[in-house]
Amino acid sequence: MSRPEDTLPPDLHYNDTEARKYTTSSRIQNIQASMTNRALELLDLDTPSMILDIGCGSGLSGEILSSVDPSEGGPHIWVGMDISASMLDIALQRDVEGDLMLADIGQGVPFRAGSFDAAISISAIQWLCNAESSEVSSTGRLSRFFNGLYASLKRGGRAVCQFYPKNDLQRTMISGAAIKAGFGAGILEDDPGTKNAKLYLVLTVGGSANEGDSGDITGVVKGMEGVDVLDARRKHKEKGRKEMKKGSKAWINHKKAQMEAKGKVVKHSSKYTGRSRNIAF
């Protein structure tokens, strides 16, 4: 399937017809709603909060933020940023409750430090990977965006960005830029390996507010059902810690395997290999 990101910049792609098509399609509405609900679940807000909606479009996600039930900590108020004037026009016609701004997220996030409790972004940040003119670079746009977002969130705040990377390169480019800006970052993948795979970049600012959490990004998904944590860092750490004692059975086996891999002739291993002998007398 062709990607709209590859054809035109977002402000031109989402023209009046495209914006209307996007907003009235019930299929897109359903997908957007489920992704927004998933993001809200990840944000785990328990009081009415101030939320930044990045790439709010016609307010499909914002609508859900304003309609969160009081028993679940809502309704939240939100400020939406989008680069497409046509999308914002549709949002006005739909009479959404949040404040709207026409802004390019690649130019930064013009809010003072600590403004928001949380930020949410549905299918938007992959647009940052495209530089439309030679004056701007995608890395520059990404770093301006993440630096601005980091500053505008309060300490202990979270951001959840659902995005569609074109390939692994874009995925690492986006998460790398977020980490560089200072976020604690992790990627949650729903329905991995299927056509409906959805990637959520989960970002935290500073330590976790809750007591008992390790302050690690994996704490965000703690207690969620059906989430496996794949932590590449842990494997690395364990490898470094496990120092084999020279002369031990594990060490001998390791050396034998090493030699065998080199193509050397190695005595075959048996139950006696590396076994300590009895005291002779």
Binding site: M81, L92, M101, Q107, P110, F111, R112, G114, S115, V136
Partner: protein, 127 residues
């Protein structure tokens, strides 16, 4: 755009990032509208800790609102004072800038507001 949002916005121009004059943005030639909203005291208490009171006082004066008290009310005061809560709600949530301009105090850049939507797009050389 709500007055509350204005209290969080700064100038987006790169050269203004380090200047304290770039916040708050000053509303100019503004047409205000009032939008009836339900009072949400939990939200207001949560947000009020982050509102820059000095900037809000300036904004309220520029928009022609009655003078605010010198210090922000504490959450306890707010919980006990129904009238205060209502007034703050009217100012922060219900009052919206519909048409006009927001001017940066440092570089003088004017951000247009049309139908409640502020335009923060900048030419590349200012980013």
């Amino acid at each position: 755009m709500k007055v509350l949002t204005l209290n969080f916005l700064t100038c987006a121009v790169k050269a203004c990032k380090s200047s304290s004059d770039s916040f708050p943005l000053h509303p100019k030639d503004c047409e205000l509208v009032s939008d009836e909203l339900e009072v949400n005291s939990a939200l207001l208490t949560n947000v009020l800790t982050r509102v820059d009171w000095k900037a809000l006082t300036t904004t309220a004066a520029e928009l022609g609102f009655p003078t605010l008290p010198a210090t922000p009310p504490t959450p306890e005061e707010l919980a006990g004072d129904e009238k205060m809560l209502k007034e703050l709600h009217t100012l922060l949530m219900e009052t919206q800038i519909n048409e006009g301009k927001l001017v940066c105090g440092h570089c003088g850049h004017e951000y247009a507001v049309k139908e409640g939507i502020a335009n923060f797009l900048l030419p590349n050389h200012l980013v």
